[in-house]
């Protein structure tokens, strides 16, 4: 056990080895044809030329590499989980190890790992979910040409994500943060021959770059204000790294002292830009729905369970920084509320099953962000934890549906799949119930905690009750749109043309396994039972003063209320979209025409950004380009042109006649003689 813990730094290394193994293996197999056996040949489409080319890396090898890497990681994660649970929640010792990496003047940047409740939680989620998704991928991508490539990218992503989770300081986090961005780019654009996928990958990358830029600026300014504090701090704590997460709390106080409240808020908001982009929060969220162009396992892995959670995770990591500035916390709250509402609102009108799920992810991330903003720290992480399971499951279900319907993603062409895909349908139902927060499934408990935190928050500001009501409304919307997708996909009559395939075990087993935590992880960790560990008690850090000390029960006020609201949403969805056709959707569409249009057009965010990019930015760029072409280039070409002019005149000296050259030679000789004569006298 302990040796697994002491080698915890190997967790990101396994996927890295797997990634390199697959990549190098593919290269070796490509260059040494004698290694190929006929069985290992898979035909890949070269999408650019639409010609079949062969890739010779055996599928089983890449599957083995990736799965064993993740499985080993899961063992480490379990070991660390047991290590954590063996400790009392009131006094947790954390493990931090660092090695110096980069020395600039008297600043030393370190690489290291930090094991505390948060990283252990994320480690478990990431390894567990990605293991199941990688198994599922075998079924989903089995006939795809880029099977081995896909697994190598999955390994790369796991490497970056686990490195991010384990990193001990902000700089290392930033490095892995960027790596996560790159691997998500690769995975979203996996089917790069589709122009929409290529564009989506680019969009995700650019949006994330905007956020990352803010994050980097935030980091640097944070370090700028607190460098001397860190230096004196590291003298006493030699085992810690610069910008170590363990000392964020103290350093935030130092930041507030040296920079003042306004600049502290600025630093916090700059740092927030990173999570806003990565977790698809409101101004920078537009990439997430587009990222559904990637293969569905990717949507499940990256855009539901792990990568988008990284933003919330980072906010949790640097939470004291936000606490130092009231303004920053209010900004976090506002962004979260907006995201939750807008995401839920858009999800109602989506017809693409994956996009609907994407917007629901966005909405749930908004819930987490709001919880962070209002100080329900452990509730946010709890929701992150439960959401990872059921949202991954929902996405895998949608993948299973899409796989069965021959790539059809439009819910209007589905329906009645309940009998044809029983496992998928049941697990999807479980996921829907869980995300709606009904019937004491895992989503109920985590959402309950968030609403509880909001209620506590309501007494702190004048506007705070509004936040509470809006979020309750968003919770109701969640139930409505999720059940809408369920009814449209699985109930009623089948409306599609494609022949529906049956499920394969390799795809349905991960669903079944994920259903277990989706149902029970909430109640198990809610603190209801004294026997089981309570999530909140472990995940509430020492520097966090307890806002609410509530007793958990099955029938609390908040819980009852949210269940009633969720049931209302369910009822509405059943009435409108259910197989019984009790209420016409058309009617509501006409009644709420402006809202419907707003939702259908996704609040015009894409149009706004296109306008900014295409019109505003374009005009500025045109003006500068004009200056560049006429001004700068003109200057440069003037130099060249003057040289050319001189040459065009001077070239007539080159008559090609030897004697003229000789004459010039002698003339020069005599002139120089004259010169020396003059000098001598």
């Amino acid at each position: 056990m302990n040796w697994l813990l002491s080698f915890i730094w190997l967790v990101p290394i396994y996927p890295l080895i797997s990634f390199l193994g697959i990549v190098l293996g593919r290269a070796v197999f490509s260059y040494f044809p004698s290694l190929r056996s006929s069985a290992s040949v898979t035909t890949e489409m070269n999408e650019v030329s639409e010609k079949a080319v062969s890739c010779y890396f055996p599928k089983s090898w890449s599957l083995f590499f990736t799965l064993s890497a993740t499985l080993l990681g899961l063992f480490h994660a379990l070991a660390s989980l047991f290590w954590l649970l063996a400790q009392s929640p009131t006094e947790i010792t954390v493990i931090e190890k660092n090695i110096p990496w980069l020395q600039v003047a008297d600043i030393t940047f370190s690489f290291g790992y930090l094991l505390d409740p948060m990283s252990v939680m994320m480690l478990f989620v990431v390894t567990f979910v990605s293991l199941l998704i990688q198994i599922y991928t075998h079924g989903y991508m089995h006939d795809d040409a880029g099977y081995a490539k896909f697994y190598s990218f999955l390994s790369l992503f796991n490497f970056s994500m686990l490195g991010l989770v384990l990193s001990s300081n902000l700089f290392q986090t930033y490095i892995f943060w960027e790596l996560v961005g790159v691997s998500s780019y690769l995975l979203i654009g996996f089917w790069f021959f589709k122009p929409s996928a290529a564009a989506a990958a680019l969009k995700a990358f650019l949006m994330n770059r905007i956020g990352d830029f803010g994050l980097l600026l935030g980091l640097l300014s944070f370090l700028f204000f607190t460098l001397s504090w860190w230096q004196s701090y590291l003298l006493d704590h030699s085992n810690q790294a610069l910008l170590s997460f363990q000392a964020i709390s103290q350093s935030s106080v130092a930041l507030l002292e040296s920079a003042g409240p306004e600049l502290t808020a600025l630093v916090a908001i700059l740092v927030l830009m990173g999570p806003v982009a990565k977790s698809a929060q409101v101004p920078l969220h537009t990439w997430l729905p587009d990222a559904m162009e990637g293969p569905t396992p990717i949507s499940a892995l990256i855009h539901a369970a792990t990568m988008v959670a990284a933003g919330i995770y980072l906010v949790g990591r640097v939470y004291p920084l936000f606490q130092a500035s009231e303004v920053a916390l209010i900004v976090v709250t506002c962004i979260g509320v907006l995201t939750a509402l807008i995401g839920a609102f858009i999800a109602i009108t989506q017809t693409d099953i994956k996009k609907a799920l994407a917007y629901s992810t966005m909405s749930q991330l908004g819930f987490m962000m709001t919880a962070m903003g209002v100080g329900a720290f452990s509730a946010a992480l709890f929701h992150l934890f439960t959401h990872a399971f059921f949202k991954a499951m929902l996405f895998l279900c949608s993948g299973s549906v899409i796989h069965a319907c021959d790539g059809e993603q439009d819910m209007r062409k589905m329906g009645g799949l309940f009998t044809k895909l029983p496992v998928t349908a049941w697990t999807y139902l479980i996921g829907t119930v869980a995300i709606s927060g009904l019937f004491w499934t895992s989503g109920f408990w985590s959402k309950d905690e968030i609403l509880l935190g909001l209620e506590t928050y309501a007494s702190r500001y004048d506007f705070a009750p509004v936040v509470f009501y809006l979020m309750t409304f968003a919770a109701g919307l969640t139930a409505f749109y999720m059940f809408r997708t369920f009814f449209m996909t699985f109930m009623g009559q089948y409306r599609g043309d494609a022949h529906v395939h049956s499920e394969t075990p390799v795809m349905s087993w991960p669903l079944a396994i994920l259903a277990v935590p989706s149902l029970f992880v909430g109640v198990a960790l809610s603190g209801l039972s004294e026997e089981l560990p309570s999530f909140a008690s472990y995940l509430t850090p020492v520097w966090m003063e307890q806002h609410h000390q509530h007793t958990v029960s099955l029938f609390s006020d908040i819980g009852n209320r949210s269940q009633i609201i969720g049931l209302t949403g369910l009822l509405l969805a059943a009435l409108i979209y259910g197989p019984w056709n009790l209420l016409s959707a058309e009617l509501f569409r006409k009644l709420l025409a402006p809202f419907h249009k707003l939702s259908l057009k996704k609040f015009y965010f894409d149009e706004l950004y296109s306008f900014i990019a295409a019109k505003v930015y374009w005009s500025v760029a045109t003006a500068t380009a004009l200056f560049d072409r006429k001004g700068i280039d003109g200057l440069v070409s003037f130099t060249g042109q003057s040289v050319m002019f001189t040459g065009s005149v001077a070239r007539y000296l080159q008559t090609g006649q030897i004697q003229l050259y000789i004459a010039v030679l002698f003339f020069a000789l005599f002139v120089s003689t004259l010169f020396f004569l003059y000098k001598l006298q």
């Binding site: 070239r651 007539y652 080159q654 008559t655 090609g656 006649q657 030897i658 004697q659 000789i662 004459a663 002698f666």
Partner: protein, 105 residues
Amino acid sequence: MMTDVALIQNLMLATLLFSVGLAGVLFSRNAIKLLISSELMLTSVNINFVAFNNYLNLDVLAGQVFSVFILTISAAEAAIGLAIVVALFRLYRTVDVEKFRLLKW
């Protein structure tokens, strides 16, 4: 002994020969004549060396030794020059330097 002829008369002769040679080099259109004229110029230089040696320091015959070297080099130059002229003649079927104008603007 040339008791009445001073150094300057020798140098005058050399100057005249040099100028005549220069004129030949510049004006002649025949490539061989161009070579001949350059030999004239070299000879005038030789006269200079010998005269200076004779009038200034006859104890050491350094000037005459230099003349010997100039003789050698001019022979080499004439050989190479003639070879070039012959090669050019093969190409252009003429020795008119006016025609060798490939390297023109």
